[in-house]
């Protein structure tokens, strides 16, 4: 399936290559570079590029292109999904997935890739099996290794691959047993000029951090499971139980994992927690434009809207801006024309605003579209859909774990058209 993998950085250097079958010359990447040149933006490179003898399937993450070389028919999503899984694993191991991190840990990277694919077919992609085989590098371990000459490779053999629950290793031990669940919901919305909602939907995930001894069997139930319209599970969740009783029953992986992602049914009206008053005008013939933006909270269920960040891609004709924020800081990059305003917390008594003028290229005609405004925000302790976890029970182990649930609402792709 996957023949080879090339890692290419933003400047077009191939800084790592790995072959699972016979060696494919790295000149195959030339086709990728051609496509890269043709594309105006890095995002516009087509994910699938045909070449005379191979097919290149690439993903771009953290400014690194992961280019997989394929020789024959294979579902493209299979490869794409796998490449993303590779990136996730790197992130899991090194904290960040940057060129520097990969170069520093090239041996671990190589060992990982070796375990993840056999003859181009995924073998072990569960992070907990991999961690059993190859210990993630930590500062302490690096120091110890250099002194004692010991290694990162686990002495164990991949017993996890034989298990019925391949995502959990055996013999897990903690002194403090705890299970934390974060319910994070994101609002995707498009708001039109007049402030009315064109489309809005809520997507949510439950991320868990479970540190429990032994083989606990957990059940998690909701107060209002009917809210969940479409769900996708971590493989550990027993699907039948959910179908029958709307209860999540699972033997959790050890550590961090995403238990569930869900979509809240579109019948429910979505509460939009912020509103934007805007007045952005460009006058014909004048080299000045007016920019006036005010943010305010609405439908926040009494919670504060925090970490607000407004960004907007201004038209190409804008040379510079002179704006005055009532709070927070703003930056404007004259090259990329990206305006971003770090607002912070919205105080309902004193609404944050950003006012001022934009200077336009003299003589240029007025831009025909007003910029779109992207907003990011966070609301703590609130799941905007109203989803509530009812209870969490543990079976199979004797001790009493510490349990915690946190709710958060964030802006997803939240756009305001002006």
């Amino acid at each position: 399936m996957i023949h080879s993998l090339f890692l290419v950085n933003a400047t077009g250097d191939i800084f790592l290559e790995k072959h699972w079958k016979s060696v494919v010359s790295r000149s195959v990447c030339d086709y990728f570079f051609e496509a890269q040149e043709r594309a105006t933006e890095p995002e516009n490179i087509p994910p699938v590029i045909p070449t005379p003898h191979h097919y290149l399937i690439s993903v771009l993450r953290h400014r690194i292109y992961f280019v997989a070389v394929i020789q024959s028919e294979v579902p493209p999503l299979f490869v794409i999904e796998f490449l993303h899984r590779v990136v996730d694993t790197f992130q899991d191991y090194f904290g960040v997935c940057t060129e520097a991190a990969i170069k520093d840990n090239v041996v671990v990277v190589y060992e990982l890739l070796e375990e993840m694919l056999d003859n181009g077919f995924p073998l072990a992609t569960e992070s907990n099996i991999l961690k059993e085989l190859i210990k993630p590098p930590t500062i302490l371990r690096t120091v110890v290794n250099t002194i004692t000459g010991s290694t990162n490779v686990g002495e164990q053999l991949p017993t996890g691959q034989l298990s019925v629950v391949p995502w959990r290793r055996t013999g897990v031990k903690y002194t403090n047993n705890e299970a934390y669940f974060d319910v994070v919901e994101e609002i995707d919305a498009i708001i039109d000029k007049s402030g009315s909602t064109i489309t809005a939907e809520i997507q949510g995930v439950i991320d868990a951090c479970v540190k429990l001894t032994g083989m606990p069997d957990l059940t998690l139930s909701f107060m209002n499971p009917r809210l969940l319209d479409d769900v996708s599970f971590h493989p550990c969740v027993r699907f039948k139980r959910w179908e029958a009783e709307r209860i999540l029953s699972f033997i959790p992986p050890d550590g961090n994992f995403r238990l569930l992602s869900y979509h809240v049914s579109s019948q429910n009206l979505v509460a939009i927690p912020v509103y934007v008053k805007h007045n952005i005008t460009f006058r014909e013939g004048s080299s000045q434009g007016r920019f006036d933006l005010t943010l305010g909270p609405k439908q926040t269920m009494g919670k504060a809207v925090e970490s607000v960040l407004v960004s907007s891609q201004l038209p190409r004709g804008v040379l510079n801006t002179s704006l005055n924020p009532s709070q927070g800081t703003y930056t404007f990059d004259p090259v990329t024309k990206l305006l971003s305003w770090d607002v912070g917390k919205i105080n309902p008594q004193k609404l944050p605003s950003l006012k001022g003028t934009m200077s336009l290229q003299a003589g240029a005609s007025k831009p025909d579209e007003n910029p779109t405004i992207n907003i990011q925000f966070k609301i703590q302790q609130l799941a905007i859909s109203g989803l509530k976890v009812n209870r969490l029970d543990m079976y199979g182990e004797k001790y009493k774990p510490f349990k915690g649930i946190k709710y958060m609402t964030k802006a997803g792709k939240f756009q305001v058209r002006t």
């Binding site: 800084f15 070796e114 992609t125 000459g149 009783e245 025909d368």
Partner: protein
Amino acid sequence: MSANSLAYSEQSGAEAAVELGQETTPTSSAGGAAFGLFSTDFKKNEDLKEMLESTKESLKLEAMKRVVGLIARGKNASELFPAVVKNVASKNIELKKLVYVYLVRYAEEQQDLALLSISTFQRALKDPNQLIRASALRVLSSIRVPIIVPIMMLAIKEAATDLSPYVRKTAAHAIQKLYSLDPDQKEHLVEVIEKLLKDKSTLVAGSVVMAFEEVCPERIDLIHKNYRKLCNLLMDVEEWGQVVIINMLTRYARTQFVSPWRQDGVFEENSEKAFYDSDEEKKEGAAQTKPYVMDPDHRLLLRNTKPLLQSRNTAVVMSVAQLYWHLAPKHEVSVVTKSLVRLLRSHREVQYVVLQNIATMSIQRKGMFEPFMKSFYVRSTDATHIKTLKLEILTNLANEANISTILREFQTYVKSQDKAFAAATIQAIGRCATNISEITDACLNGLVLLLSNRDETVVAESVVVIKKLLQTQPSQHSDIIKHMAKLRVPVPMARASILWLIGEYCEHVPRIAPDVLRKMAKTFTSEEDIVKLQTVNLAAKLYLTNSKQTKLLTQYILNLGKYDQNYDIRDRTRFIRQLIVPNEKSGALSKYARRILLAPKPAPVLQSAFKDRDRFQLGTLSHTLNSKATGYLELSDWPDVAPDQSVRNVEVVEAVRINTRSDCYYRRDEDHSEEKRLCSHSYLVFCSRSDEGQKNGRLEKSGSGSGSASASSEESSSAESSSESGSDSDSGTDQKRNTKPKPIKKVRDVIHVVHCFCLSRLFPVQVSSPVFVPVRPHELLHRMTGKGLAAQYHFPRQPCIYGDHMVSVQLTFNNHGDHALEDIHISEKTSTGQSIHCFRPIGESGSAAVLGRTCSKTERFSVSIQPAVGELLLPVTMTEQDFSREQGKLVGMNESSATITMAPETVSSQPVSKKVVSVANVGVVPSGQDNVHRFAAKLVSSGTLVLVCVVQKDSSAQLTVNTERTVVGSMLLRELQTALSSAP
């Protein structure tokens, strides 16, 4: 010496790097940088060989790490091969692994030296530890050295029969490697694949199907016997294996089942009802009205893949979606919509592929995605190719009802700063306008407004689209043509389009056309080629229609064209001149000039770019590229007649139980019910305990243990449509099918079912064994009604082994038909107003009928079990004194009596007790008097005493029943009365 040779090799490596840098032009500078970087490496790497040959582990490890670093950067380190390969037997695991990495990378180049390592692996293949065996096979098979093919073959054959599923999985991987190394081994490898396909382990399934796809995808016959097993294991296979298996099964199903799409018309009519309601009703109806019945195996595949739509792996979701698209009846395909839309939240690359597939689907099935239209609205942050795909889908979804919303959305897009996208939007508007005639005018007006846009590409695209639109209805739009004639568009394509329009419809704009030609004549020399061609064209058309005004102009333009630099234009000019200007040489064609040039042209059909993509299987690389990729396997058309179904039947298989036990995570919670079913092969046990009545009752009745209201309805539908009942992942049913001997035609197979009704509370009185009475079977289902299936029930009067609060009922099924009947089970309780919930009252009052339903292959029947009140008793023994004492307590209300006339034959005592006992399960109390017969029993449900006394007087008898339960008493009395008074 060694250092020298090393240095030399590094040098050559460096040269290679430089060459590479030059080859890859965009990175030539990068290549240079690599060289610089490399030269520092070069000095350091001299010591590598020494380090590798040292005795210190840490030094060796350090060296290997650097070597792997070199490999990772694509540098040549092959010269170190002899030094590295020595360490293959190292004790240090990390060192060993790194050596493996090196070995696999360079073995192909250094074949002779690589052979040195083989014996190490051969030894490891015999290791008692399965993981060591597996890893040895893995590395051995990765070494691409043709000489060792026989060794590999041997190793694979051995590993394929290994006890450890992990080793067998590795063997499946090795098959592919060996095949790519030496395709001549195919025959032997197919044998191994065949063997491994029979494997029941979930670990092996994915890998062996992958090997099957790679080595012998044409050997579809190997799948038959394993089809059902693969379907049932699917849920528990790891996600990557799921993708491969689903794709393979899609191809398989297309060759083995008949199309479920043929009679779609019938489905449409009752689709509203049939869609969410239980499928069974529809099925029954369908079976009667038309011959198509979905093959149970086909249904099995659809049912078992559906839960995988909830997978977190996007590739799995996509493969299930394509399976439904290619295999499911049309009305069922829409179950995949939601999941596909969910994938749009994922990474950009995933979005790209999913949107492409949705685009293809939305052409054929608008309805599927229409409710999710808003999910395809474009955001300014999307990448351009995502935007275009979304636009494509929105256009496909447009219909009369939603077009205004879509157009409003398009208006925003037209103003986008991304001009390529804006242009695509204009094309999309054009497509909507041609497809939906109501809005053509509105769209045209909108497009005309865009003509004053400042951006060239937008204007050009508008002109082109307007041109296409006008072609559909030119007569009404002369003002638009006039407006366009006045435009000064700099984009050549747009100018050419305007000229063509004016030429084509010059009769609608008789005044303006010659003027335009005049202007064009002025600027002819400086125009682009395409504009020149259209100018010549316009001139010719005007010459034919309005030669008075334009004759000279045309001559002038033709002259200019004659000396143009471009030979296309010169050719065209010469051709046009011969065609339209009459002279003595002009041939027959000039007569037809008008008909040639001014022929009515059909309006162009604006259609989706995804129109022809459906020739490829969805979700494949070929579909994404819209061209056939290497190794693409065509999806065959449905066969007209289904091939023999029985090829998929499996003989009794032993080991199923152990396997499903060990690797079925998702089924664990159902084990308890499974166990019971397994322990008795021919006895299906249904128990419902009164304390937790509802839950348990449901579990067993639904036949799959996982039950709930929703699940059981699903199951009942599945039961009649397929021979395997059992819900999605249930292996229990699988086993049941397997362990039951396959009924051959006309063979009567008898299955007993013990049905225990729940009753309660222990009674202190000694329970005696029942008096033997001949079995009195009751008809439950007549064979005529049951279409070959007959069912009888009787009360065996055995103490129930599943609880002493229950009464045993024995059901006997007889197959009088000539079809094999499978998986007969009681699907659910739908008694008249009584659910399982009300079970206890039934037992106590003994008055109710229990209604159940028996399902057979494609049928279900309502049946009812009428528990005679006498069967709800348990015989007890007591002395005569006790009897009288108890009877003394139960007087008044609790006593019911009657006088009966007895048939003369029954006067003697023997028949009396026989008769009583045959009606009611009571124990005989020894009696001192000949004419007094006493019987005692207790109600199984509550333990209440029931005393029966018959006092004979000549031909008449006094019958007394004493019990606290007056209802039971009176009913029992009535039954005894009829029994005793009748002739034996």
